[in-house]
Subunit: 211 residues, 2 copies
């Protein structure tokens, strides 16, 4: 099960999501053609992808949903607990802190920080907001795996440097800037404007096709 | 300038963002090697990409930042105004409504809708929240290009169907479900959990490499 191609890895969260939904609704087995219809991916693509995890899609029997969901979850590292802090208690930080589904997947929010002293002590779900000044002290007592950055882009690079020094190994970056971090630090950026531009590009091209 | 490969199109928002920052800070010309260092993309990749827009990167002179920013903006459809509604006035909907940068790029938020009657009339920045019951009436008076869905996944498919019937041609979908829409309707989904799983996958693999 080593060396899963990158293109397949990219699709694993999607498989995991659909298999989780099937599992929740009590489905035990599913064929590649049923999965294909559900996921809008060709059945042969699905068979190729899932072959990387051993040939447990027997002809006529389909895939074992629970087994596949578990094994893909393990590959995605979801069989562990990750301690997460959110930097920036604005609307986006709050939205993320309130997604209980993240916690169900093992991402536990352990701290929320903001530079606004007026927010100190405010409870967001089960976590109280700390001031940015308390960051270093917080790390003396807590081991943090992932830092979520929901701060303005002007503040993000310095905060990232500070967190790297404190030992953070992964960033979920919502600030609209590309972070420069050491090679062994993971950065997953969600650039919302880039995503919105894909829409305007597609809409423009639809219009051109009509002309 | 027809037929820009998909792989290049995907990188255009990133070029647009960096060129915009350079333009704001008064930079008039930039070489592919300077852009390369800034964007973490090889210089030869940059030259190949930008060649699609005509050969205006003269040896020794570099690219004209303003021209390139404008032309890429046009290709991305940013030379137009898009009327946007947000469905779901929770934290995420509010966060998106409060990003004034979207408006600067031509995405104007014209309405915000929520199924909670208590939110009716609440002002979020310059727009007051309407009830979902008012959706059809709203469309009689307003032409909407893009609907942003920040609703629970159980509600999203029905709302999307309703909006397609009202003529919406593009969805920015934050609900954790793949929408099924007619072929000429654009869907850009931001699946935040999928993004988070890329982090747990990378963290697990970093750990394995260390063993």
């Amino acid at each position: 099960m080593e060396n899963i191609p990158n293109a397949v890895v990219k699709r694993l969260p999607m498989y995991y999501r659909h298999l989780g939904e099937l599992r929740e609704s009590g489905v035990e087995r599913i064929s590649s053609s049923e999965l294909s219809e559900r996921m809008n991916v060709t059945a042969s693509q699905i068979r190729q992808d899932l072959n990387h995890f051993g040939g447990f899609g027997q002809q006529g029997y389909g895939y074992n949903v629970e087994y596949l969901h578990t094994i893909i979850g393990n590959i995605l590292g979801l069989n562990k607990i990750y301690h997460v802090i959110i930097i920036g208690a604005g609307n986006l930080g709050r939205a993320l802190a309130n997604y209980t589904n993240f916690e169900k997947s093992g991402f536990v929010i352990t701290g929320i920080f903001d530079s606004n002293p007026e927010l100190r002590g405010e409870m967001i779900r089960t976590v109280s907001v700390s001031h940015m000044d308390e960051l270093e002290m917080f790390f003396e007592k807590n081991k943090i795996d992932i830092a979520v950055l929901t701060v303005p882009k002007s503040a993000a690079p310095d905060i990232a440097d500070r967190l790297v020094k404190l030992g953070v190994k992964a960033f979920w970056n919502f600030a609209h800037v590309d972070l420069k971090v050491p090679e062994d630090v993971v950065v997953e950026s969600v650039h919302l404007s880039d995503s919105l531009m894909k829409i305007s590009y597609s809409l423009s091209n639809l219009e051109k096709e009509k002309l």
